[in-house]
Symmetry: C2
Subunit: 350 residues, 2 copies
């Protein structure tokens, strides 16, 4: 029998982390009597006087959210990381290692209207979001080793407020995922004298099997090693290292690309598609200011949980937590569906 | 200001994986208007003629589940892994690495009655479950490098059928998590001439800060590096390497320990507490039969998602997926609550 990737279980390596993922084609056909998600709809009011993220509403801590007109950034009232915190004592016991963690956590509203999301905002409004990401990044990256910009969209991804927003958590240290990437990208660069993701973009363009969106500045693919069913990577084609490297044209093109990708997501199962997404680029802060970033390529990652429909998600549970990542359709199958679904015209809510 | 772990954000190292977790005390106090879980109740009928896991019911593939009286094991009708599968071609491109994956997937019912769970089963019935785990492990470990016994309990943990059951996925290879543990346990053993988890048990017994249950054969702790809010490890105190090492007395004691731990979980938020759990021990199969397992200690891990109540879970999303694990209360706070909650008498459903 000959091996066919779309038929036969196999493993694939994520070269960014060194971890393998188990790919099991056809498992989406099994019966499902487990949890049903509530399909996310865009049916909020434009303004909700009880929602602290809406312009003019008073937050639980008594501070009033101003009557903002575009984006609005404020410090999280319940931050995971704070700027001033005592340093834990050193421990020489390898089983009880503790380390300092300083930082801050900001919330960034995308738009004054609660009933918009990135796919339903205009490309011009998305450029404003990108510009705000960059201005935040400029400020925070001067001080912190890692500035994680991320969006949790939808209740299924733990979003605790439906107003369109993202978060920015800055860290005085390099967290595990970027640390791992940093090492593996550097090793690849040393061996190949090219950034890993620049090579990867070239080869995906040659192979044409996993591409979702392609334009002169950006490539969106379902990575060869994707773990979430419809996971994508949005990769810079211009050797950008960090989000604040982008030219005006690249930012405008990025806005169009984000709008198209998230429209495709929404159209796939005709719902406001939940996901977590975030930006990865070269580390920052005084510690990394003089280090080479030649091995890095700016990219965003989208982790959407839905598997089969607006109501059935993929659970990363037992086997996935205890043994390894596992997916139920091939990245090529996912890419084909995302490529074919409309990316221009958003479905209309019934 | 002096550092106080229960007050100040900090990081802790998981020595089994080398990954850090961000510990943020007091974050559970933030307002939550996100997803509400349906509290899991033990209110199923004893027998459901439409549930293929019930004795005497015909499965979708036409095979009848026998009228079993204790445990019952069958091959998963939609297996992620299969025994006979062609080998993928070798690739020398580091960005497109693919590897073979053979194995099998079994489902194991714990009991004929649908309305029981481990905490509501008798200790004697749990011994029967443990014995079946061992007999499955004996058979499968002869052939496969890794036999992952795991239970996904509750819809919140992706369980697709409410009948009490677990799964056993066997792999021709060592999956990522056990592979990482294998390396780190071995390194520790080489340096310290003691299994890491044996040292860890000793130190937790001295410190008495994270212990949930303690008896001569087993220790249950919220690990110093726990990521899920009420995560626990159930560790052998007898230098057992694999589940099929256990003596009759150790198995009886294990049944009592499992019943006590899962009763505590159910009582914590007065619901049928969801979790994923599974066993980790020394690798198996022809490949590992002659290798030393001196660095291993048999243990089970419980990953329960609930954070604040029967309806509010912890989401491992944006920051957690993109940057690093993060928790909202300290392991010591979680251990204290689990230690204090009743482990003998199960709450009664209202
Ligand atoms: O096999 P089940 O119960 O249908 O499925 C469940 O457990 C599997 C193994 O952890 C996961 O891959 C699935 O996402 C989950 O829903
Ligand atoms: O900060 P939020 O939106 O309240 O919370 C959400 O995002 C955080 C960062 O990924 C997670 O730690 C929380 O589990 C999630 O519910």
């Amino acid at each position: 029998m000959q091996f066919v990737a779309s038929e036969h279980p196999h493993r694939r390596l994520n070269p960014l982390t060194g971890q393998w993922v188990l790919v099991c084609p056809h498992r989406t056909q099994r019966p499902w009597s487990g949890q049903q998600e509530k399909p996310e709809k865009n049916e909020l009011p434009e303004f909700d006087p009880t929602n602290p993220l809406c312009p003019g509403v008073t937050r639980p801590n008594g501070i009033e959210t101003p009557a903002y007109k575009s984006t609005y950034v404020f410090e999280n009232d319940f931050p995971a990381l704070v700027e001033v915190v005592p340093i834990p004592p050193n421990s020489d016991d390898p089983l009880f290692q503790i380390a300092p963690a300083r930082g801050n956590c900001r919330v960034m509203c995308f738009h004054p209207k609660s009933n918009l999301t990135l796919p339903t905002m205009s490309a011009a409004d998305i450029v404003v979001v990108i510009d705000e990401w960059i201005s935040q990044f400029n400020e925070l990256s001067a001080k912190y080793a890692w500035v994680q910009i991320f969006e949790n969209k939808g209740a299924a991804m733990g979003c605790s407020n439906p107003h369109p927003h993202c978060q920015i958590w800055s860290c005085s240290f390099l967290p595990s995922e970027p640390q791992l990437k940093q090492e593996r990208l550097r090793t690849y660069y040393t061996t190949n004298e090219r950034p890993m993701l620049a090579d990867y973009v070239d080869r995906e363009l040659q192979r044409q099997e996993r591409i979702v969106i392609e334009n002169p500045d950006w490539l969106v693919v379902v990575p060869f090693w994707a773990t979430w069913p419809f996971e994508t990577m949005l990769i810079s084609r211009n050797n950008n290292k960090r989000i604040n490297d982008l030219t005006l044209e690249q930012r405008q093109n990025l806005a169009v690309t984000i709008k198209e990708l998230t429209t495709k997501y929404d159209n796939l199962f005709q719902c406001s598609f939940p996901y977590s997404m975030g930006w990865h680029g070269a580390p920052t802060g005084p510690e990394h200011a003089h280090a080479s970033s030649a091995h890095w390529t700016l990219h965003a990652i989208y982790y959407p949980p839905l598997l089969r429909s607006a109501t059935v998600r993929k659970f990363m549970v037992g086997f996935e937590l205890l043994a390894m990542s596992q997916r139920d359709l091939t990245p090529e199958q996912a890419a084909l569906r995302l490529r074919e679904v409309d990316g221009k015209c958003h479905y209309t809510e019934k």
